[in-house]
Structures are given as structure tokens and as C-alpha cells.
């Protein structure tokens, strides 16, 4: 917890003092060619995520938030710039990272328990160990009784939980989450945010959390990074000064919350308005 509230405007590099960096990107650019035009998605992006930090990324749609996560996961290489993970340069898909994508990537022919067991099967975990781990994580995410259901039989929120369980079950050091609670209703969203914070404070994993919801970002994160609209650049890094553990319901009524909200909204507003009038 930081006592000093720091707001860095237009920083080239921002690091949390104290903890060593888990993920560090320097001068990362990403562009691709679409319909003959060169589109730059991310431009000169430098960012460090400390070990055990909860970092949220917000920005208007099209600001390259998902691309940034893909780059950190090693699914997409950057066009230029470097990424280090735990001090080592990244090569290919990172297996230390659990990636909870925005879209449903459950295997429809497997039951809930079988889906959650996939990463354990890949790691050749023995069957009885894997079963024990799966049933433990099923309880954690509140899916008890649904182990033998197929994804088709579940609601959107429950499928998200299955994906979350599948990401947590193999205990990756770092978790990347791309609008994981996006399509859920407000109540369920708050419940799951609370569960996520509880899980995070028990395990202290490094989390990079992409969202378009400023309230969600402030509620959860240590720092909130604002990306500009395309090409995505870091516009603002806001250190969230709210005490932990946080109450996901009550935190939004604190005066400090309002300050954070106002600063983040000011930063993002111009781009959002431009987006809306397009």
C-alpha cells in the first residue's frame, strides 16, 4: 500500500518502487496491414508490472488493450520493442501466464470438470491429483454441483467462472484478464469482483486486468493505466490509494474514489467522445 498518491502525466516509464518487475515492456510498437493500410495499434509503449501487483488497463475501444495482453501472453509478437518476463526476454507463448480471454474458449464437448482439467492434462498431472485440484477450484469459484454439466447448459456468468477456474487451476504466476466480467449484470459482476480480490489477496499473483469500466478498475487495481485511442499510448498512470482489503460494494462511496474517478474520466473523456461522435 502506498501512502503517497502519485499521478504521473505522460510518463515514459512507470515502475512500482520496491518490488521487482514481473513484466516489463519497453518501446513496444504494434502495427499491422489491413486493406492495404498500415494501422498502428500500439505506439512506444513502456510499462512495468511489479510482482504481485494488480494492474488495470482502461481505454476507449480500439485502443489496443487486447493486443497489449496478447503481446504479454506471447501470442502476438510486437512489431518492435522488447518484453521481459521475470527478467528474461520473452520468446513465443508464455506458459507462466494464465490468460482469461474475452471470448468463450471452453471446449463445448467437455463437461465443466473436464474443461477445468485441460491445463492439468497438458502438464501430465496424475488423474487422482488432478481430480482433487479440480474439485477444490470448483468450490472456490462456486460451481459445486455443476461439474458434470456441459458449457451449453450454463449461463454466461457460469461459463466465465469455469474459464476463471481453468485459469486458476494450474496456478500460473501471472494472470491476464480481458474484460472478464464485461457481459455480466451489475450484481453478479460485483460478486465476482469480490471473489477475485479475495483470491488475489490470498495468492498475491500478478494480475493485468483489461476493462472499459473505470469503476471496476479503481475498485480492483493498485494502478490504473489509461490508454489513448488508436494508436494506443499511455496517457495516464493512476496510483489507487484506497486501503486494502477493499469492500467492493462500499469502496465507491469513499472520497478518494471520487478523486480517482474524476482524474481517470478526464483523461479518457476526450477519446470516448471522439469515438462516440464518429
Amino acid at each position: 500500500m502506498r501512502l503517497a498518491k502519485r499521478t504521473e502525466n505522460n510518463p515514459v516509464r512507470a515502475e512500482m518502487s520496491g518490488s521487482p518487475a514481473m513484466i516489463s515492456l519497453s518501446d513496444v510498437c504494434k502495427s499491422f496491414v489491413a486493406h492495404g493500410d498500415r494501422v498502428t495499434v500500439l505506439e512506444n509503449l513502456s510499462l512495468s508490472v511489479a510482482k504481485g501487483e494488480f494492474l488495470a488497463i482502461v481505454g476507449p475501444s480500439g485502443s489496443g488493450k487486447s493486443t497489449l495482453l496478447n503481446i504479454i501472453a506471447g501470442i502476438e509478437p510486437p512489431s518492435s520493442g522488447t518484453i521481459h518476463y521475470d527478467g528474461k526476454p520473452m520468446r513465443g507463448v508464455s506458459t507462466h501466464v494464465g490468460y482469461l480471454t474475452q471470448h468463450d474458449s471452453l471446449l463445448p464437448w467437455r463437461t465443466v470438470a473436464e474443461n477445468i482439467a485441460v491445463p492439468l492434462e497438458i502438464r501430465h498431472v496424475l488423474r487422482h491429483e488432478s481430480q482433487a485440484q479440480v474439485s477444490a477450484i470448483v468450490r472456490t469459484v462456486g460451481l459445486s454441483g455443476f461439474e458434470r454439466h456441459h458449457p451449453r447448459q450454463l449461463s454466461g456468468g457460469m461459463r466465465k467462472r469455469v474459464m476463471l477456474a481453468r485459469t486458476l487451476v494450474y496456478d500460473p504466476e501471472t494472470i491476464l484478464m480481458d474484460e472478464p466480467f464485461g457481459p455480466l449484470d451489475a450484481q453478479l459482476k460485483t460478486v465476482l469482483q469480490g471473489e477475485l480480490l479475495r483470491l488475489w489477496s490470498n495468492s498475491r499473483k500478478t494480475i493485468v486486468f483489461v476493462t472499459h469500466d473505470i469503476v471496476e478498475a479503481i475498485t480492483l487495481a493498485d494502478r490504473v493505466v489509461v490508454l489513448s485511442s488508436r494508436p494506443g499510448r499511455i496517457k495516464l498512470i493512476e496510483h489507487i490509494s484506497l486501503d486494502r482489503p477493499r469492500d467492493v460494494h462500499g469502496v465507491r462511496f469513499l472520497p478518494a474514489f471520487e478523486d480517482h474517478y474524476r482524474r481517470l474520466w478526464d483523461s479518457i473523456e476526450v477519446d470516448v467522445r471522439r469515438e462516440a461522435s464518429r
Binding site: 507463448v93 501466464v97 490468460y99 480471454t101 471446449l107 463445448p108 502438464r123 451449453r152 457460469m158
Partner: protein, 269 residues
Amino acid sequence: MSAPDVAGDLIAEQRVLHGVPQRGRHIWLYRFVLLIVFLAVWQFAAGHLVDPFWTSSPSAIAETLAKWLRSGLLLRHLSVTFEETATGFVIGAFLGIICGTAVGQNEIIARTIDPFVTALYGVPKIALAPLFIMWFGIGLMPKIVLAAISVFFLVFFNTLGGIREVDPKLIEAMRTMGASRWDIQRKVMIPASLPWIFLGFKLGLPYGFVGAVAAEMMASNQGIGFLTQSSAGQFDTAGVFSGLLALMVVTSGLNEALGLLERWIFRWR
């Protein structure tokens, strides 16, 4: 877990499990009535409206079938055709899956061979029968090969389609979990393309049957195709219809069996 969520899911599920579509309840009865009416009209027409020499009649066909059944003729010829079709189907389907999966791995290979395979596919398989009879004689072999080729193309195209249609997001998700190529192949590609492969089976089976029977009609001394052909040669219309009926029963039975297997494999849908 919020309670309303669970309840909603359970209710939805029960509706699926126990819901009886009101309109479709008597469909089997309707089908039976249609069949009876059709047979009755046929029976009446033969002898009253048209010469039974050309159309035969349900009673004459039943008689011929009963005779064939008693003498064991039907079963002997049927089992020959069945053996040809089944062997050809297994060979064709196996090669179709292997080739489809292999070609599906690589976009360049798939696009390179595409026009050639499509051209080959476009050739009516029956047109190959004389060639195979020339190569393999009049035994079971040319029928098996023809059935296999007919099945192969349908299974091949469907497998290839299935492999290429696999949601890349599923593959990406597997890769971030640390899956190897082999893991992805076994856990995603094959299960995801199974419905397509099965569609290939279902489309291919009747074609395999057609291939076998057609080759029998051209040059053979056994099989249902031969039996039908030789009945026609003797102007035995009842015999021809009996052969056709036997074919119909066998294909329906095989399709039904495939359908059952499919429902069992795709319980998750």
C-alpha cells in the same frame, strides 16, 4: 452462486429434457397411414389401371421376397453387398480422415491440391467402374474400391472442412495453457471436427452403397445389384422391386445405426 441463476438454469434444462412438442406426437401414426395408403393405391392400380408386368404389385413383391428369404438367396446376396460396402466404407473413411487431417494442417498444401481434388471429386464415381473391373476383375475387389473412393472424397472434404473451421480462439487458449501441437490436435482439432467427420460418414455411406451396387450391376455374379440386374434381364419386375426394397431396408438400417452412434458420441450438444 446466486440462487436465481441456478434455478433459471435448472428450469431451462428441465424444459429441454421433458418438453414434448405437442404437434409432433402422432408423427409415427401419420407415417404409417401414408405407407398403407401408398401400398393400397399401388395394389389397386396394378391390374386395374396399369399392367402389373411393368409395375408389379406389393403382393407380388412380398411373395418374391418371401421366396428369396426361404431359399436363403436374399441373405446370401445381401451379405455380399454388405461386405463390399462395409469394407469399402471403412477403408475410404479411414483414408479420408487421415488425408483430411494431414492436409488441414497446412494452408499451402490445402490450397495447392484443392483444384486437383475438386476435379477428381467431380468425376462421377460410376464412370470409374469399368476401369476398376478391368484392373481387378469381377470379384469383390472392384466393388470395394469403388465404394471406398465414393466414401473417401466425402469424408476427406468434410474432415478438411472441419479442421479448417476449428475456432482459432480455442487453439489460442490451448496454447496459452502450454499445449503442444499434439495436445491441440488430440484435444481440440479432432473433437471439434468430429461432427463434420460424422456428416461425411452419413453422406458417404449411401454413396459407398451406390458404388458397390453399380459395380455389381456392371459385372458380377453375386450381390443385390446382380440380383436386381438379373431379375430385370428376365423381365421379372417383382424381382427388381424386391431387390430395390432390400437395398432400401439396408441403407435405412445403416443410416439409423450411424444416427444412434452419432447421438451417443455427441451427447454434449
